[in-house]
Symmetry: C2
Subunit: 341 residues, 2 copies
């Protein structure tokens, strides 16, 4: 079985974006918050938006299951306030749940949180509980910079985030550390802000003892870990200067990297440098890079091709494709087991 | 000949740091600016600080010449105002010049600029002119985020920076794009802020047409280009989505990467992905990562070992070690030629 741990609902019917734009407009105009009931998307529309896009490509590429969360760039936690984020997160998470109900063989939901800059993350707990308990979401996406590029939240090692971590530990769910749109003109969203956030989050973990406090807490760093595997020697050396244990002990029981690296040399480096138990297959399809690579004739984000061509034996490839994901996402494993998979 | 294009004066006599601390204190106390004349460092002290450190390691490792600029983390452009930065840059640049006079066979100076947040970069021109004309500096370090982690300057493609570029073109000198200390607790200076800045700067170039306006402008992106070579497929794909030319045409006449990547797999990826004409040997020694790698028994920053072991033929290795640097830094080439090298 091949599990893609990093898929977003980037192809939702346009009514979703229309509703969001109206929500932002009414908020900015100081009017009453737009009701969720004003958005109506039928099951047929959902089916069509998935079948023609993600599911079509999953079938073409041989991907069985995708962990499916709301579109990352649309989370836009910097917009509005907690109430605005809360209504928006509830809608987006429900849509991912509905997709998982319509295609139970292929999609398992993960949740965005109703984060808002300067607001205590514990306010996100009710939505997290609802997603896990009522909807069967198996993970969350945690935004380390809800400001969208100002980076004014405390580091992930700060107690600020502990309420979220306590709930993650209780539910035994991992968090993908994933920022949203950059509203800082210095940072291109998918070309700089995403990769910077991955590197930043890893280093925040490295300088801290977060996983001593939360030994079962698990973070997935997307986009192949940003700059981290390429600079693995630098990070090993920095840990050494800071008198931290070896990274394998200090972080790799708790930190995992996905395979969203869009060329063969990148995946070759990832699989050469990072222990295989810490690599999770993913493509972020349909995402930031949708084109066909003229050098290969295949889609940049067809990451399965790179994993197939990497110097990895069959047993390790199965870890990357399936068993690591089932270990890091125990609720995914349980969902699959219940279905005899 | 082996030229290291990325060395900083991280081992300056402690009187320098003492002076700087006093300068900052007097500024914060609202007193008259501390005079440069209050700092006295003799030639013997300079000699000792170099011979026991950088020069010793250069001899051990077989590096002939280092392009030597002020300590990056000490630039701290966010401190004080333009006058504070100006006095500080003048002192640091003069020290690098003096080192180059004391060891003319081994050190060639490059300049920091007296940048200050919110201040027009054209104010840096007099110091730049002084360094090139009076001191023979062959390059500058340009900080794309003088705020130290708030990232509130316009992107490098903005006209804001054009006065610097016009002078660079006139003098035919490149800029290394190098941030300084992060004062944002989200970003560890050498583990996150430096690498993020490299990635950010590259993407600012990618989304723009800067090099159409300045076809001879040259940027060196340090630390192996941050996350860029590891994600080269992503960047090629993003350029394609933005209808930009192939990266080889769009950026690689003007953008170069150094080899400050502190493990073999990283250098292997760099030399596999980036055309050899765009790779410049460097170690940033003595810098952020000073330890010995227990996996190899050698210093992490002994990057020559990785370049020696990379799949690069002798002609290409000579490009990385010498001829690329002489092409990208024509004033270095001229200095070396004048000495018959």
């Amino acid at each position: 079985m091949i599990i893609d741990v990093h898929g977003h609902y980037t192809t939702a019917p346009s009514a979703l974006e229309t509703w969001r734009n109206r929500q932002v407009e009414t908020f900015r105009a100081g009017k009453a918050l737009l009701a969720a009931a004003e958005l109506r998307i039928g099951d047929d529309e959902l089916r069509e938006s998935i079948e023609a896009n993600q599911l079509r490509l999953m079938r073409e590429r041989g991907i069985d299951v995708t962990i499916f969360s709301p579109r990352a760039s649309f989370m836009a936690h910097h917009i509005g306030n907690f109430q605005v984020s809360s209504a928006w997160a509830a809608i987006c998470n429900e849509l991912c749940f509905r997709v998982s109900q319509l295609f139970p063989e292929h999609f398992v939901p993960a949740a965005m949180l109703p984060q808002s800059p300067g607001v205590d993350p514990s306010t996100c707990i009710p939505e997290l509980v609802r997603c896990v308990e009522a909807y069967g979401h198996v993970a969350i996406n945690l935004n380390p910079d809800p400001s969208g590029g100002r980076w004014d939240s405390p580091p992930l090692s700060d107690r600020h985030w502990y309420p979220i971590y306590e709930k993650m530990v209780e539910y035994d769910i991992p968090a993908m550390i994933h920022v949203s749109t950059s509203c800082n003109p210095a940072f291109h969203t998918t070309g700089a802000h995403y990769l910077n956030a991955d590197t930043t989050a890893f280093m925040q973990c490295l300088t801290s003892d977060l996983f001593t406090h939360f030994p079962t807490l698990r973070f997935v760093i997307p986009h192949g870990g940003g700059a981290v595997p390429y600079h693995w020697g630098r990070f090993r050396g920095l840990a050494q200067e800071l008198s931290k244990p070896l990274l394998t002990e200090h972080l790799l029981h708790n930190v995992f990297f996905d395979t969203c690296v869009y060329h063969q040399p990148g995946i070759d480096l990832l699989t050469r440098v990072i222990p295989v138990d810490n690599i999770l297959f993913a493509s972020e399809m349909i995402g930031a890079v949708r084109g066909v690579d003229p050098e290969t004739g295949h889609h940049y984000d067809d990451t399965k091709r790179y994993v197939e061509a990497a110097h990895v034996d069959a047993a390790d490839r199965r870890r990357i494709y399936e068993t690591n994901a089932r270990r890091v996402y125990p609720r995914l494993d349980r969902t699959l087991n219940e279905r005899g998979r």
